[in-house]
């Protein structure tokens, strides 16, 4: 009995000593102490960056891991955001219930959209999803839906206070809430991609014919991945609505979809931690571009993008992999 305990303890120590685990613990500690060190506005921006990271993770599951090219995720973000806004404003539901509900609503929409999308590949799927992104603001503004969506003017939401009388400002509380959601959803994504399901999903991306020959039900997995991906982006949308306290149709144009896609590539396609880098990029780089030159903000942004791709063709995650690989080879050669 004692022998087995010490064996388990050794296994646990080995597992905890792995670089990924150490890195995660260190990052979380830093992340958790930030709210007490930075100003509210920066906190607000970091919270929003995390929201985008969750949305990008959703897109990553679909495009990065499953190979289904989507340019329409702004639509799911919008659906999630509006679900939260309508629940809070029209039905007086507490903000924390809106997250799972928004997720489930988007799961359903995503799955439904995934079904006809089964027939489309590559660029055709991109066009179809892009149409979805283009259509969404127009649908939100349309007259039949106006009583719910508030039309062009959108809906205003009240920022929630920290619960249980905690000595935190609203911004700090929302930061921690978002951080908790990030930790939860990212761990779930890691679990999913490391499971049998995850392998099936990746197999479909890499070689659908071989996957089918091995008995993977392609239709099921592809639609399911669409649904899960939409779930993630929908939850992000709901969080986004709460953080920004406002939803309006023109916040969710196809430009946002393209922004998410850029975040995906810059962070690293098929990399879960990469989504965090993507979220930071999507939030801060357009601001930086505007600071450099108000009139040529777009051009500066474009040039930054080209440089980033030139330096990191496979995104931040790809660069990390390259560096780690070089270090590993060097140490192997020295041994």
């Amino acid at each position: 009995m004692a022998r087995r305990n010490s064996q388990n303890w050794n296994n646990l120590r080995a597992a905890l000593a792995r670089p990924q685990v150490i890195l995660t613990v260190v990052s979380l500690t830093i992340a958790a102490s930030l709210p007490f060190a930075v100003k509210n506005f920066i906190l607000f921006q970091l919270t929003l960056a995390m929201v985008y990271a969750i949305a990008i993770l959703g897109l990553n599951l679909l495009t990065g891991f499953n190979g289904q090219f989507s340019l329409g995720h702004s639509a799911f973000f919008a659906i999630g955001a509006y679900t939260a806004a309508i629940m809070m404003d029209r039905f007086d539901v507490a903000y924390y219930w809106t997250l799972p509900v928004a997720g489930v609503v988007c799961l359903a929409f995503g799955f439904l959209f995934g079904l006809p999308a089964l027939r489309l590949q590559g660029i055709y799927l991109a066009l179809a999803t892009f149409s979805l992104a283009v259509a969404m603001p127009q649908i939100l503004k349309s007259t039949p839906l106006e009583p719910w969506t508030g039309g062009v003017q959108g809906i205003v939401i009240i920022k929630p206070d920290a619960p249980f009388g905690l000595q935190l400002s609203s911004d700090q509380w929302l930061y921690f809430l978002t951080l908790a959601v990030v930790v939860l959803m990212f761990s779930c994504a890691v679990n999913l991609t490391n499971s049998r399901t995850g392998r099936a999903i990746v197999a479909i991306r890499d070689n659908p014919i071989a996957a089918r020959a091995m008995g993977v039900d392609i239709a099921y997995y592809k639609s399911m991945t669409f649904g899960v991906s939409a779930f993630y982006t929908g939850v992000a949308g709901a969080l986004g609505a709460i953080v920004i306290q406002f939803v309006a149709p023109d916040s969710f144009t196809f430009a946002f979809s393209i922004g998410l896609f850029v975040g995906l590539v810059v962070g690293g396609v098929g990399s879960i931690p990469g989504a965090l880098f993507g979220g930071l990029f999507v939030l801060f780089v357009p601001n930086i571009a505007e600071h450099v030159s108000k009139g040529l903000a777009g051009a500066v942004y474009g040039i930054i993008l080209i440089l980033v791709i030139y330096l990191m063709p496979s995104g931040a995650a790809g660069l990390v992999r390259l560096i780690v690989g070089k270090i590993a080879r060097k140490s192997a050669r020295q041994n």
Binding site: T63, S131, I309
Partner: protein
């Protein structure tokens, strides 16, 4: 009935614009096996260059030719400077480069020439053709130019050696090298041609929609739709679909209730997606058989 005919012709007029754009898109797709998302912005930038030349007093047709030439060189330059160093990057990263190009061109055009709407002349005159207002001379001229371009492109790809070399390069670059084709230059040529066609499209379109940096956004989308529905391997398909998209968009806008200006784009795109669901390789696309 009169209304229907009128709307059909109006649709053909706008369809001519989309067909022109779709042609440029298919052109570059044939060369680089990828969709150029910045195609519209390149066309827009070329048209601004033409406008500037006109402002400086150059007459129309020399301006036209000079702009096409400059655009050709610009396309080649973009390929050599931006895309060639990144040719080993993954496909999705390439798409981000297109997005970057889009942002750079759009922003620069706004910066250099500002966002006020400018008018752009047409060489065909604005009087209605046949005098009864069904279709204007310019629209007819535009359709004629599109068809001429189409025929020239078709002949180029089908009957010339360089056209065949370009098709081979797009299909299988490694095998193309093995038969001695200078793949790098084929790709650059494809970019140059696409830029040139885009310039022509832009100069045809600007008189109708007026010149401003954002003029190509929805047109590019319709152009994509036309190219994709036509089947990306077929310039003819692109042009026919471009015209059809124009007609459908116009008819939907006129005859289906609830479809105001905002939803026209959505309806057109939905129909396109519907077509693709039924025929995933497009209406005219060659169904590629590959033995596993």
């Amino acid at each position: 009935m009169d209304l229907l005919l009128h709307q059909v012709f109006a649709g053909l007029s706008t369809g001519g614009i989309y067909a022109c754009m779709a042609l440029a898109i298919v052109m570059i797709y044939q060369a680089i096996d990828n969709l150029n998302f910045a195609q519209g912005e390149m066309a827009m930038f070329s048209t601004f260059i033409a406008w500037q030349l006109l402002q400086w007093g150059l007459p129309y047709w020399p301006t036209f030719l000079l702009t096409v030439t400059i655009s050709f060189c610009g396309g080649v330059a973009i390929e050599r400077v931006v895309f060639k160093p990144l040719k080993n990057a993954p496909v999705l990263s390439h798409i981000v480069i297109f997005i970057a190009l889009f942002a750079i061109l759009n922003s620069s055009a706004g910066f250099i020439w500002d966002f006020t709407i400018k008018s752009f002349p047409t060489p065909f005159g604005t009087a209605p053709l046949f005098g009864n207002g069904i279709i204007s001379s310019h629209d007819t001229g535009m359709i004629a130019v599109t068809i001429v371009l189409l025929v020239l492109l078709f002949a180029f790809f089908r009957y010339t050696r360089i056209g065949l070399a370009m098709r081979a390069t797009a299909a299988n670059p490694e095998s193309a090298r093995l038969v001695g084709i200078r793949v790098g230059w084929m790709i650059a040529l494809g970019w140059g041609m696409a830029a040139a066609i885009g310039a022509v499209a832009g100069m045809m379109i600007a008189p109708v929609v007026f010149l401003e940096p954002n003029m190509m956004l929805s047109i590019l989308l319709y152009g994509f739709a036309g190219a994709v529905v036509g089947g990306l391997s077929s310039p003819l398909g692109a042009v026919v679909s471009g015209f059809s998209v124009g007609v459908i968009e116009n008819l939907a806008g006129t005859f289906i209730p609830y479809v105001g200006r905002e939803l026209k784009l959505t309806i057109a795109l939905t129909l396109i997606v519907a077509v693709l669901t039924v025929r995933p390789s497009g209406l005219f696309g060659r169904i590629l058989v590959s033995r596993v």
